[in-house]
């Protein structure tokens, strides 16, 4: 068994999985706060209408208070789970970098709590955008911790044949292109989430009320007269801020980035298709990029991990596009808009975890090489280290 498998702690892994699920629910809760325009419905923090937050009477959880107050309570729960997670990792995980990731998770959740509170007490919408974006990154971190504490990661991913990795580096440019494309697309997904958060915190409702057209056109008229006409016709119950040309352009950019993400994810799926080995390539040099276990085990259906991830990611993006359209068609119904936020979070997490899987073995190999070089520099001088062959 791989030495890394000794790090495997099933209960820790399960605890982190629970934290990840709870964090996902918290994202939904936060999404509902914004979707219901309830972010300022509790004017004080950390108290709630003068009560200790944990003693606020249930009878007063009404209207927007219900969403904001339950969000604060859930966030407190996540804070507690994350604290336990960080301490547990620090005490029990032999990998130094994992211990520090646990510390990072604790710092992020504490920062999130403060940001959420300051957004209320300082009455700053901009902090709401940062709070929303950071929430997504925190969710990605917890999902990554769940991955890194999994048996699969520690017995399969890092046991990935280094020689095959080297061969892949030399012979499979498609794999190299794939993982860099996944990385770039993941960053674009995060940018899209920030765009979405910025749109939602304008508190102006739908800047463009139709889809796929925009005010009946491919590109809407954003002149002052046109915007005045849009506002005159606009009948909103909540989100009473008048719309501006900036908000209309922001939504158009969001739509275009969505299209770009779809194309990029589709290309990733294309690149992740099962590699047909060139006839001229010896079997020993066919790259093992599907993370099958060295004992021949692995995914039962034989579908490589990258293929699975690419299809899952593509599916998520398609659902996300449908939800985006539905958000407009439903006049920004709170549940639809919140689902759009949640699927966006899943898309970001999927891309990030795929990056971890694609780059993890390379990073691990580099780290191992550095450790071995430090231990016996003369051995390195005597002969080429296998990990160095073809490794980028």
């Amino acid at each position: 068994m791989n030495a890394n498998a000794q790090n495997y702690n099933p209960w820790l892994h399960r605890f982190i999985l629970v934290t990840a699920v709870a964090t996902f629910l918290l994202l939904g809760s936060g999404g509902m706060v914004t979707s219901h325009e309830a972010g300022m419905s509790v004017p004080d923090w950390p108290n709630t209408y003068g009560y200790n937050m944990f003693l606020f009477p249930v009878s007063k959880w009404v209207g927007g208070i219900l969403y904001e107050h339950t969000h604060r309570l859930l966030a407190s729960g996540i804070g507690l789970l994350t604290t336990v997670l960080a301490v547990w990792l620090w005490r029990k995980d032999a990998r130094g970098w994992m211990r520090w990731l646990g510390v990072l998770a604790f710092v992020l959740v504490a920062l999130q709590g403060v940001l959420g509170g300051l957004r209320v007490t300082l009455e700053m919408d901009q902090l709401g955008i940062v709070h929303g974006a950071l929430a997504q990154l925190f969710f990605v971190l917890i999902c990554a911790l769940a991955l890194f504490t999994s048996r699969w990661w520690q017995t399969v991913a890092l046991a990935h044949d280094r020689h095959s990795e080297e061969n892949a580096a030399v012979t499979d440019r498609r794999y190299q292109s794939l993982r860099w494309l996944v990385l770039g697309t993941t960053f674009l997904v995060f940018l899209q989430l920030v765009l979405g958060a910025t749109m939602r915190h304008q508190h102006a409702g739908l800047a463009i009320p139709d889809f796929p057209a925009a005010y009946g056109k491919i590109w809407p008229d954003t002149s002052a007269a046109a915007v005045a006409h849009y506002n005159a016709d606009r009948m909103e119950v909540i989100s009473e801020n008048p719309i501006t040309a900036f908000q209309i352009i922001l939504q158009m950019v969001h739509r275009m980035v969505a299209l770009a993400i779809f194309i990029l994810v589709a290309v990733c799926a294309w690149l992740a298709r099962p590699p047909g080995a060139p006839a001229s390539l010896p079997a020993s040099q066919v790259p093992n990029t599907d993370f099958r276990r060295q004992d021949g085990g692995g995914p039962r259906d034989g579908v490589p991990i990258h293929r699975r991830l690419s299809l899952f990611w593509l599916g998520l993006v398609l659902v996300q596009i449908i939800l985006g359209a539905a958000t407009i068609w439903s006049n920004k119904a709170a549940d639809v808009a919140t689902a759009h936020v949640l699927v966006g979070a899943l898309a970001l997490a999927t891309g990030a975890l795929w990056c971890a899987i694609a780059f993890g073995p390379t990073i691990a190999a580099l780290c191992e090489r550095r450790v071995e070089d430090r231990r016996s520099p003369t051995a390195t001088a005597a002969g080429a280290h296998p990990a160095m062959i073809g490794n980028k």
Binding site: H36, E37, A38, G39, M40, S41, V42, P43, D44, Y49, G50, K60, V62, G63, G64, I65, E68, V120, E123, A228, H229, N231, A232, D233, M235, V237, I238, S239, E240, N241
Partner: protein, 236 residues
Amino acid sequence: MKDAKGTPVLLLIALLAAAPAARAADIIGTITLKGTPPAEIPITPLMDNPDCAAMHKTTPTTHFYVVGPKGELADVVVSLKGVTGKSTGASAPPVVLDQKGCLYVPQILAIQTGQKLIVRNSDNCIHNVHCTPTVAGNEEHNDAQMPGGADLTYTFPKPEMFLRFKCDVHPWMFAWVSVFDSPYFSISDPEGKFVIKNVPPGKYTVEADHRKLGSKTQDVEVKDSDVTANFTFEVK
């Protein structure tokens, strides 16, 4: 011999005393709307809230366009453009903005800089009073107001059009308060009529602002009698 030099001065004083004194006058007018505005929409989230629904027999609607049978347009804020530094707000009686039936009453208000705005909670439920000014110098506030709680009082030192008040507990609740640096403003009534009282003689630009329809202006000259300035807005 009598001194004749003071006679012309005395005559001038007598003439001035006899002349009618120039007096302040009112600017009056009617505001009408041409065209058919979009239909008002029901405030369904209000009826989804048990506390608020209990105060209404039918679902209230929005009031973006309050139009009479002959096109009379209400809720238009009429003021004298560019007249500043004339505020008597500090000594003016306070204006009351009430929360009744989970709605702000009235929805369109106007006050002077420094004038007290009293926000009252007449409902049997929690509200938060959240004002979001956009003009530097006017401070944002977000205050809890429990049922039966004390009135909240605000003042704003800077002129601002349609300063928004909202309740985040009940996100359909909005009021729009315009702040002027003079007492020369009025809001058109359901008959579309407005009166700006006691305007000193002079030339002015009268501005009429509707939250959805934008603004229109008209130049007038106030002498010693009331001046009429009518406005027509159009829905396109």
